[in-house]
Symmetry: C2
Subunit: 246 residues, 2 copies
């Protein structure tokens, strides 16, 4: 299959750079075609301009190239270090500029039974996406009662709001914690774990987010119907299954 | 008091620009001193460079200026349109570059009873912060069972992870929804509501996040002690009071 890696780290000697290199080799060895958008190396313009909000026409060449890569891909991997509990600015600016009106949002019709093609439907329907994230903190710091916030909630705005929004199925993230404590043995184990995830990109069950236009939400208020997960509030209400099963 | 407004919108004719103008006037009329970091107008460099990770010395002049503004301020307002469920890339890049090691993180000592000065303690202790956010979606879309995710959870990574982390108290956000449907009467009502929030910046109760080093967390795993909010998981576990009271 075709795999696009959208990558954001400024240091070519970083752990992220090494893992990107490993991932490309692993995927190519398995017969996949790989493209990489190395945002720092591309000197990606991360600032959405006033003239780009919202324009259907006159997109810049850099945006069109990234949209073509997304349309080409069967699976998109977003690889980045967790900086201040989200993706680096340069990658956020990639989303803001590449997800143009009519491509990333504002797709489909609005009616009494549909509210546009989004959250499970859209331009990128049929594709899969996975985050590949490094963090300096310990895994326990990101656990369900960890002080940094549970990782599945920290990543929800990206998983649900950026990847699932235009239609991609979202695989559980590949996480590397405590990146300051790395040695050869640990790095080898991480590569092996990553390799398993890359080998199973096509078969790993996605996070079971609820689809917008399939009966779970009242339109146009877009709240869960009272009989759906009654009493449940917050991010976890938008999952078919309780988060403990994820 | 001294108020710093960190502002990110590229269009000087936008609703955000009008609200910024209103806020400055309201604050100055009340006798406060106001500085504005208008990130687009400043052509802020949003890309953290490899050479900036992590350096204690040799900060660039643009970073030092922003750090001085933060130290000068009693209250910091971050004003932005919600793009893809978070702050614009240019503002994220402001955080990444201005929050240097020894200023925004890596402050204080690590021991059996402390894990650095963070989450309620740090360089910005004693200051208050508030988000001022516009969104195109309806308020119901961001309600506790709304499809975009509950707004208090969407903003948690910013509130807790960016504002509370270096020590600021965080006020409830000022939100404007459905920005595409604006007329003179609604704009006037929004300004009045905003004015009330600006008039009470010094007295509004902050979001009751738990302090890291005051007994609620086990160190160094940094998980809530079993007797604290037993059974509660996710972002809401890090509040002293149940979120329904917020």
């Amino acid at each position: 299959m075709n795999v696009l890696i959208v990558y954001a780290h400024p240091d070519p000697n970083s752990l992220n750079a090494a893992l990107k290199h490993y991932a490309i080799q692993r995927l190519q060895t398995a017969g996949h075609a790989v493209q990489v958008s190395d945002l720092y190396a591309m000197e990606w313009n991360a600032k959405l301009a006033a003239s780009e909000i919202p324009k259907l026409e006159n997109h810049r060449a850099d945006i069109l190239r990234e949209q073509e890569k997304l349309l080409w891909a069967d699976t998109v991997i977003f690889q980045f270090p967790l900086w201040w509990f989200s993706m680096p600015a340069i990658m956020k600016g990639w989303v803001e500029r590449v997800y143009t009106l009519g491509f990333g949002y504002g797709v489909g019709e609005h009616s009494d039974v549909r509210w546009g093609d989004r959250y499970g439907e859209g331009t990128l329907t049929g594709k899969r996406a996975m985050l590949m994230v490094t963090a300096g903190g310990w895994e326990s710091h990101y656990s369900p009662r960890g002080i940094n916030g549970a990782v599945d909630e920290l990543l929800f705005p990206i998983h649900h709001g950026i990847l699932y929004y235009p239609g991609m199925e979202v695989l559980p993230p590949f996480m590397v914690y405590r990146t300051g404590h790395m040695d050869d043995a640990r790095y080898a184990a991480i590569c092996e774990e990553l390799g398993q995830r890359l080998d199973t990109l096509a078969t790993t069950p996605p996070i079971p987010f609820r689809r917008q236009n399939h009966g779970d939400y009242d339109i146009p208020v877009m709240t869960l119907k009272s009989e759906i997960a009654p009493g449940v509030e917050g991010f976890k209400a938008h999952l078919h299954q309780p988060p403990s099963l994820l």
